[in-house]
Structures are given as structure tokens and as C-alpha cells.
């Protein structure tokens, strides 16, 4: 699998993501700079990683969504390429209109960095097919603005078209509508989620609950 990770000014979980991808796919991802205009030829997966792009100034992800690379990411998604946005990357995807809705400030009005439990609602996608539907798993979360919100019509469509990939199980940590932790694009090729499965791929550091997401991705492109 050829994976590329986009680095924006203020991105800070790009190395975590690179380590997780290399560990599971055996292949180092390409690091792209936000000013690049094109993706490397043959890119299968583009990752928008976590962090504080542009310091979260203006709105989380809003300025990054205007970066030169985002046109190429959009074209890649439109071609059916895979796009994974984690935390700040999820916020960018909503700001760029690649996923609907918005991430508001946590209901507690505090930055929260803790483990959360998620339930897998779709286990038939390139990102999740190594999970079982209904399976729960733990991942780190670390965000101040992860409270998923959208209008009633959008919510109805997301639920009706079964585009909610991951939902918080048990306590809803940030006030997200319908406890939504991650959503998919209609073609199931774009996934945005707030928690960090990339920090959960190593038994010595954070546990291995996040591994199935990366092994799913790796297997989706085993031949590539």
C-alpha cells in the first residue's frame, strides 16, 4: 500500500501515524508538505493526521482546509481513493466539505485526553473490515473540539445511509450528537474520526486495540 501523510504547520501526530502505518504495512509512508500541489503517483491512502494546524486559530482545521494540497486530496477522494482524517484531520475534512457536519468544543468546555471506548458500526469498509460489527475497542482521545454536530437532516441521512462508522460506547466524552466518533463518505472511501487508533498499535505503548484499522487498510491493498 502506498500511503501519504500530509504535514501542515502545527501538525503533531504525523510521526505517530507514520509509525503505525509502517508497523502494520511494512512500508514507510511518504510525508507531504501542505504546500505540495500533487500526491505521489499511485497513492492509495492519504492521511490527514492530528495536531493543531495553524494553532487552531480561526477554527480547528479551517485554514488547513484551504491549503494547496487539499485540492489534490479532494480529487483523490473523488476518484475513489482512500482518505483518513484523524482528530484535526477529521476537523479539516468537515471544513473542506469532504465530510458533513462540524466538530464543536467539547461539552465540558475542556480539552480531554483520556481513553475512550468506541463501538464499530460498519465492519465492511476498507478501514474497518478487520473489526467485527458491534465490537468495542479502546483508543486514546486528545481533543478540545470533538463534539460532532450537524443539522437534523444531515444526521438523519448519516444514520439512514449507515454512514456512522464509530460511536462512543458508554459515557459520551464530548457531547457528540448520537455519540458519533467517526463518519464515512457515501462511497465509504473517506473516514474521519476524533480518537487516535494510531496510538494503540503497540502492546508496550498504548495497547493494540487500534491495530485492526491498520491491518484492514494494509489488507485492502495487499497486492498494491
Amino acid at each position: 500500500m502506498k500511503a501519504s501523510i500530509v504535514v501542515f504547520p502545527g501538525t503533531n501526530r504525523e510521526r505517530d501515524m507514520a509509525i503505525a502505518l509502517e508497523r502494520t504495512t511494512g512500508r514507510k509512508p511518504t510525508m507531504l508538505w501542505h504546500r505540495d500541489a500533487e500526491l505521489p503517483a499511485g497513492t492509495d491512502l492519504v492521511v490527514l493526521p492530528g495536531g493543531f494546524s495553524y494553532g487552531d486559530y480561526l477554527r480547528c482545521g479551517a485554514m488547513a482546509a484551504q491549503s494547496p494540497i487539499m485540492a489534490a486530496v479532494r480529487a483523490h477522494a473523488e476518484r475513489g481513493g482512500l482518505v483518513l482524517g484523524v482528530c484535526n484531520g477529521f476537523q479539516m475534512l468537515t471544513e473542506a466539505g469532504l465530510l458533513p457536519g462540524a466538530l464543536l468544543q467539547n461539552a465540558s468546555l475542556r480539552f480531554l485526553a483520556m481513553n475512550c471506548t468506541m463501538r464499530v458500526e460498519r465492519a465492511d469498509t476498507a478501514f474497518t473490515h478487520h473489526f467485527q460489527r458491534g465490537q468495542t475497542f479502546q483508543a486514546t482521545m486528545a481533543h478540545g473540539d470533538g463534539n460532532y454536530f450537524c443539522d437534523a437532516e444531515t444526521l438523519k441521512r448519516l444514520e439512514g445511509e449507515n454512514l456512522v462508522a464509530l460511536r462512543y460506547e458508554g459515557e459520551n466524552p464530548n457531547g457528540s450528537l448520537n455519540a458519533i466518533a467517526g463518519i464515512l463518505s457515501p462511497n465509504l472511501r473517506v473516514l474521519g474520526l476524533m480518537p487516535h487508533p494510531e496510538n494503540c498499535v503497540d502492546p508496550l505503548v498504548g495497547g493494540t486495540d487500534g491495530l485492526p484499522m491498520f491491518t484492514s487498510l494494509a489488507e485492502s491493498f495487499a497486492a498494491a
Binding site: 503533531n12 493543531f52 485526553a113
Partner: protein, 749 residues
């Protein structure tokens, strides 16, 4: 404005010497010197160095360079007593941060620094800029920061002001650390009314670099460019809180708060840009602009290199218009660095800083004059010889008074009013022992993907080094109530406890950084506390092969004449060759519990005495350094042999609290067998550990043959903690009490 080269010559037209601004009138200068905090004899010495009256900029430079904060004039004579050398110490005190070798060609860089006063005035930004400043000290050395810790002391938790300060400080630390993407992995918090008007915020950063790629501040190379990078310079932080700015201000613009505002986004860019440039061969020397900003960085770089320096303020990137040379030299705007580049490397460096959207400006050159010369708008604003600025800096051996010794308090001296179970439930919910989860949950401890032991999981944080199995253990420690009662014993205990906490995860303790927080050094009893604490620390450092490699002194921590508890906070770092060897607090079911170390039942200054008997009295527990070393080396050997499932040092609260904390960390109960009184279970005797092992008999035998005191405590299992005498407390109940306190206190913030 960001000039990339000096388009104006530093000398005047046709190389004639540039004209100088006129000196201040003698009376005016003397008056300002006093306002800037220079004592009359210090000012006389400055006049002697200059041979004339100073300009405003010169007076500003002298006063900040000779301030307590920059010159360590009250503490230097004592700090010299601390051991600073070991074969593994690569850089000791005096640089931006200390450096130790940690194997495989790697080195660890670390330091702790205070931001106490700003954090009381403006908790969020005071704490945030404290984190930013210590991060810069570490990446200035060429290291990628891999972890932050913080040692916090707040006032009486029931006071609304304490809640407000604590909320702001925690948000500030999180707001900065989370954004720059350096995990906040550990620290400590105490509460005491002595901190009501003067909280302590001590921030520590640990970084990693290759042992042969250390950057320092000593600038060399006649004519080399002096480059300013980072954020622009504004009027924030000029001269700190003591300045009466009205005396100077030409307009109200200057009446700004003296607390700086942090921009963690700019810091993140600065880290990445500096590390990218450091991977090339362009840098000769580098120094962050911390306290006293451009003044101290310029003076220190040129001074350490035995050079002179000329800086042209016209080229300094400025955030606002009309700033004077004096303001620019004394500004403490954040996220700025000064560096000296090799000839011909300016374009390479500039391209990297432009990529990261940061300011980059050549603002001067190194000279061979041994002087710092400041120019602005075609005039010389300051011209001071560097050598006497350092060599003639004030140095005081202030009078000291010893703290009177207090009586020893043991079991027979105080009755148990409530019984063991009730005392335990009260203690685990008390402010100094309750769960810190409310705080940790606001700090990203996982970013970087290398945090093996996070807060609450072990006695020290454990962070693996990327692409290695090797890991660093790190901790911060100090027990201020011990230091107040007996500063020497307290200083010794603070170092020993840091060593013990590193040992308890299996690490080999290597070195410390110290953050000395004390009251007004002009009072003999305070200077006496300082001198005694240093004496105790030095003894422990020597006995434990645990030298001081960096540090910071914060004095005048007083409000309305009342000093804080003496607080020599210790940041310790140790090495684990394999992260998989690290052990934590969580015990497996069915493990044998063994106490290592001797128990006399020392209740003086214990939390039991304070929280249960309502007395803050007595001598603190002494540390026998030979026993400390012997017990710790034994425990570490057992851990590294893979024979220990969990380990926890016995500290605040004593033995029963230690076992209870292991129960709460694992959700596993324990049945304890020794019969003992309140002194046995709650005494705070030092140099002790509780180990959970599969073969307790073998451990007892090994301890016996090593000459280490050991005692069988019982077995882990079930979901209650059973104390001899019939009491049984459910672990869930303990956990609920332990977890409830901080959220209750902080409700509504």
C-alpha cells in the same frame, strides 16, 4: 520588517565611529537604577565599568543582567556545593539545559524552571509560557523534546482563589503542551496555605539528541552573522512586575501587563525549523531568548565565546511601531531565538525559517572587541564591556540562620483517634493524596506514541525513545512540609525520593535538575533554609551518584511578608535499557506482597499526623543514604531480573496508603497479615518499597542474603483490602473516595 542582510553598515558613514545617544543625567540615572532594582553599590560598580553615566538601554542591560533571576547573586555561593559531575554527564549547569549520555550514542537533555510569579498574576499565560520557556531551553541544545512534567504547589484548596489559579494553570500547561505536541507525562501537586498568595509552577522538559550533536551558546567566528528567528518582538514582559512604568512612558501604550502571552503554534514551528536547521552544519551557536530577552541571549552568546557583538535594533522584527532600543533589548516576547551562523549559510537558514513561516533577520555580527554594542536609527544606544558585566556581577554571601530542630514524634507520642480503616479512607481522599485524574485528563500524555507509563500507572513516567527499545524514566519530587521542618533533611529526602521513584519502575537513576523555590533571601532564616537544603541535596546526590546537571532558582516567593514552604523541587531522569522491563503499580491477582526497608513508625510531619490528628509537627523522617542505596539497588536488580510484577515506593501517607494505591491502580484487593499500630501503617519512614512478586519466600531469602530488611505483607487478590484486626474496605469504595476529591473541588470552574 524582516531584513535578510544588513543593508546598513554597522559603523557610521565612511567608517567613522557612529555617534552615541547622550547618557542619562546623573540624578535621573541614579533614580532609575533604584527603580530597576540595582542597589547603590551595584550601581556604583556599573558606573565604574562604564566610566561614565549610563544610557537608558545600558542601565536596563545592567539591571536585568544583575537581577537575582539572571545573576543568581544570592544563591551562587551555595549552588557551588552541589555535585555536578559523573562520567555520563556531557553538559552540566551553565548551559540552557544539562545533558547526560544514555547509551547507543544517545543523550538526554533536561531542565526544570519556575514560572511562579506570572502564574499567580495570570494563571493561564503564566503557566503556558513557563512550558514554552523550558521547551526552548531543551530544543536549543539540539534535542527533540519528548516529554513534559510539572511540579505544582497551590494554596488551601478550599479557597476560591486556589481553584481559579489551579484551573488556569492546568489549562495553560495543557493548552501549550498539547498544541506543541509534546506529551505531558508526569509531575506532582501539593496543597498548603503557605502557597495561598504564591503558587509554584515548575515546568520540566526532557529531550533526546545524538550525543555528538549537542548545540551550545558559545559564539565564535569574527564577522559571523547573528540571526534572530521566531516571533516578532513586542513590548510584553519588559522589566517584569517591579518596574514603575509610568516613570518612563511616553504614552499609555507602555502600561501593559508584564506577563507574556504564549503562542504554542509559533513554538511548534520554531521547534521544527530549528531541528531542521540543526540537521545541517549551518549553526555555530544558539540561545533562546528567555528572561531578559535579547539582552541575556546576546550577552551570554558573545561572553561565552570570548567575542564581542554588535546588534542593530533597526533589523529586529517588531510587532509594533516606535519601539525604543531599550524596549527591544528588554522585551520578553516569547518564541524567539538568537543564533550565530557559519559564513555563507544565511540563505540556507532563511529558506528553512521561511518554509515554517517564521521571521528571520540578520541583526548583527560577532566582533573581536569584547563589547556588546547596540545600535538603533544610526546611533549607539549601548556600549558595554562583556567581561566585567559577568566577572563583576554582584555575588552575596547573605547571612543564614539555622532552622531550629523539632522533636521526634513516634507512635507512643500520639494516640490513634479513629482507627486504621477510617484513617485510610480519609487519607486517600485528602487533597495531597487524592487522584490527580482531573488534571491528567487535560494533558495529552500519548502524543508521540512512545509513552509506556502515564500518570497514575507507575512511580515514574516511562517514555520510550523512538526507533529504540531503550526508554527514559522521569519524575519530579519534593516534600515541602519536610523541608519546612528541617531543610537539610528535606533537601536530602527530595533527591532520595526522586531516585527511589525512578528505581521503582526499574530504571537506573542518572541525574537531576533542581528548581529551588524559596522566600526572601535577605532574611537569614530563608537563606538558612536554602543553604541547608543544598547541603542535604548535595549529600544525597553524592551518595546516590545522582549529580545535578541543570537548575533554576526562584527567590522572593513571599506575599505580605509570608514565605512559601521551602520547595527544592527535584526532577530526576533514569534509563531503562528495554522498555519492556518497566513495572508499574498494578498488581496481578495472587501475588505475594513484600515490604523492602525498615519501619520504625515515624509520624512526625506525616500526612496521618496532619490529616487525622490535626497536627503539623515534629521532625521529618530522616533518610539513611546508605540504606537508601542498598534497598534501591536490591529492588532494581529484582525488577530487571523479571521477578517483580508491581512496585510502589512508600512515600506520603505511609505503608497502608502505598498498598491501597496499588489496589486502586489494579482494581485488585489484598489481604495484609502483619499486626501493627498507626505508626507502623501510616509512618513515613523512608527508603521503602512494596513489591508484588510470584515467589515471596524467594524474595525474602534474597533480601536476607543481601542484608536488606524485608517483611512479608500478605497477598493480593479479591476486591477488598483486608487489614489485620478485621477491617475490610472495598477497593471500589477506596477508588470512589480517591477519585471524587478534585472533581468536587473544581466543580463549576
Amino acid at each position: 520588517m524582516t531584513g535578510t542582510s544588513l543593508d546598513k553598515p554597522l559603523t557610521g558613514p565612511e567608517n567613522r565611529p557612529m555617534a552615541s545617544v547622550p547618557p542619562l543625567a546623573p540624578e535621573r540615572a541614579r533614580q532609575l537604577a533604584a527603580e530597576f532594582g540595582l542597589k547603590p553599590d551595584e550601581y556604583a560598580r556599573a558606573l565604574g565599568i562604564l566610566g561614565r553615566d549610563p544610557t537608558l538601554a545600558e542601565l536596563g542591560i545592567f539591571s536585568v543582567m544583575w537581577s537575582e533571576h539572571c545573576s543568581y547573586k544570592s544563591s551562587r555561593v551555595w549552588l557551588k556545593e552541589l555535585p555536578t559531575k559523573a562520567p555520563w554527564v556531557l553538559v552540566g549547569p551553565g548551559e540552557n539545559a544539562g545533558v547526560i549520555e544514555i547509551g547507543e550514542g544517545l543523550a538526554a537533555v533536561f531542565k526544570m524552571e519556575s514560572h511562579n510569579h506570572p502564574s499567580f498574576i495570570e494563571p493561564y499565560n503564566g503557566a503556558a509560557t513557563g512550558v514554552g520557556g523550558i521547551l526552548r531551553d531543551v530544543f536549543t541544545m539540539g534535542a527533540r523534546p519528548i516529554a513534559n512534567l510539572n511540579a505544582l504547589r497551590f494554596g488551601d484548596p478550599k479557597l476560591p482563589k486556589t481553584r481559579q489559579v489551579m484551573d488556569g494553570v492546568v489549562r495553560g500547561i495543557g493548552g501549550y503542551g498539547n498544541c506543541v505536541g509534546v506529551p505531558t507525562v508526569g509531575g506532582e501537586v501539593n496543597f498548603h496555605p503557605a502557597y495561598n498568595g504564591n503558587p509554584l509552577v515548575n515546568a520540566m522538559t526532557v529531550g533526546i539528541l545524538k550525543a555528538d550533536r549537542i548545540f551550545t551558546a558559545a559564539a565564535t567566528g569574527l564577522g559571523n552573522a547573528v540571526v534572530y528567528v521566531g516571533s516578532k518582538t513586542g513590548r510584553d514582559g519588559i522589566h517584569g512586575a517591579t518596574m514603575s512604568s509610568a516613570e518612563f512612558s511616553e504614552d499609555s501604550e507602555e502600561k501593559r501587563p508584564t506577563v507574556q502571552i504564549g503562542d504554542p503554534f509559533a513554538e511548534k514551528l520554531l521547534i521544527e525549523a530549528c531541528l531542521e536547521l540543526m540537521a545541517t552544519d549551518a549553526i555555530v551557536a544558539i540561545q533562546d531568548m528567555g528572561a531578559a530577552g535579547l539582552t541575556s541571549s546576546g550577552v551570554e552568546m558573545a561572553g561565552k565565546g570570548g567575542m564581542g557583538v554588535e546588534l542593530d535594533m533597526d533589523h529586529v522584527p517588531q510587532r509594533e511601531e516606535g519601539m525604543s532600543a531599550y524596549e527591544m533589548m528588554l522585551s520578553e516576547s516569547q518564541e524567539r531565538m538568537l543564533m550565530v551562523l557559519k559564513p555563507g549559510r544565511e540563505a540556507l537558514a532563511e529558506s528553512i525559517f521561511r518554509k515554517w513561516e517564521l521571521d528571520f533577520a540578520v541583526i548583527g555580527r560577532l566582533t573581536d572587541t569584547g563589547r556588546i554594542v547596540i545600535k538603533h536609527k544610526g546611533l549607539v544606544e549601548a556600549d558595554i564591556p562583556l567581561a566585567p558585566l559577568e566577572s563583576e556581577a554582584p555575588l552575596y554571601r547573605r547571612p543564614t540562620a539555622e532552622t531550629p530542630k523539632l522533636p521526634v514524634i513516634v507512635t507512643k507520642d500520639v494516640a490513634d483517634p479513629v482507627g486504621l480503616a477510617a484513617a485510610l479512607k480519609t487519607l486517600v481522599a485528602s487533597p495531597d493524596l487524592c487522584s490527580r485524574r482531573w488534571i491528567w485528563d487535560q494533558y495529552d500524555a500519548q502524543v508521540g506514541g512512545q509513552t509506556a507509563k502515564r500518570p497514575g500507572q507507575a512511580d515514574a513516567a516511562v517514555v520510550r525513545i523512538e526507533d529504540h527499545v531503550r526508554a527514559l524514566a522521569m519524575t519530579t519530587d519534593c516534600t515541602p512540609r519536610y523541608c519546612q521542618a528541617d531543610p537539610e533533611a528535606g533537601g536530602k529526602q527530595a533527591v532520595a525520593e526522586a531516585w527511589r521513584n525512578l528505581t521503582a519502575v526499574g530504571a537506573l537513576p542518572r541525574a537531576i535538575t533542581d528548581n529551588m523555590n524559596f522566600g526572601n533571601p535577605e532574611k537569614p532564616e530563608i537563606m538558612g533554609q536554602f543553604a541547608s537544603a543544598v547541603r542535604g541535596m548535595a549529600a544525597a546526590c553524592t551518595a546516590l551518584d545522582f549529580p545535578v546537571i541543570s537548575g533554576n532558582v526562584s527567590l522572593y516567593n513571599e506575599t505580605e511578608g509570608k514565605a512559601i514552604l521551602p520547595t527544592p523541587a527535584i526532577g530526576g531522569v533514569g534509563v531503562l535499557e528495554d522498555v519492556a522491563q518497566a513495572v508499574g503499580l498494578a498488581m496481578p491477582q495472587g501475588a505475594d506482597l513484600v515490604l523492602i526497608g525498615e519501619t520504625a513508625g515515624w509520624l512526625g510531619q506525616s500526612l496521618w499526623l496532619r490529616e487525622i490528628a490535626g497536627r503539623e509537627e515534629g521532625a521529618p523522617p530522616p533518610v539513611d543514604l546508605a540504606a537508601e542505596r542498598r534497598n534501591g539497588d536490591f529492588v532494581r536488580t529484582e525488577i530487571l531480573a523479571g521477578r517483580v510484577g508491581a512496585c510502589h515506593d512508600c512515600a506520603d501517607g505511609g505503608l497502608l496508603v502505598t498498598v491501597a494505591e496499588m489496589c486502586m491502580a489494579s482494581g485488585v484487593g489484598a489481604r495484609l497479615t502483619p499486626t501493627g499500630d498507626h505508626g507502623f501503617w501510616f509512618g513515613e519512614d523512608q527508603s521503602r518499597y512494596v513489591l508484588a512478586v510470584t515467589d515471596g519466600a524467594a524474595l525474602l531469602a534474597a533480601a536476607k542474603s543481601a542484608g536488606v530488611p524485608a517483611l512479608a505483607l500478605g497477598r493480593s487478590g479479591g476486591n477488598t483490602l483486608e487489614i489485620p484486626g478485621g477491617d475490610a474496605i472495598s477497593v471500589d469504595e477506596l477508588t470512589a473516595a480517591n477519585e471524587a476529591t478534585l472533581p468536587e473541588l473544581m466543580r463549576g470552574t
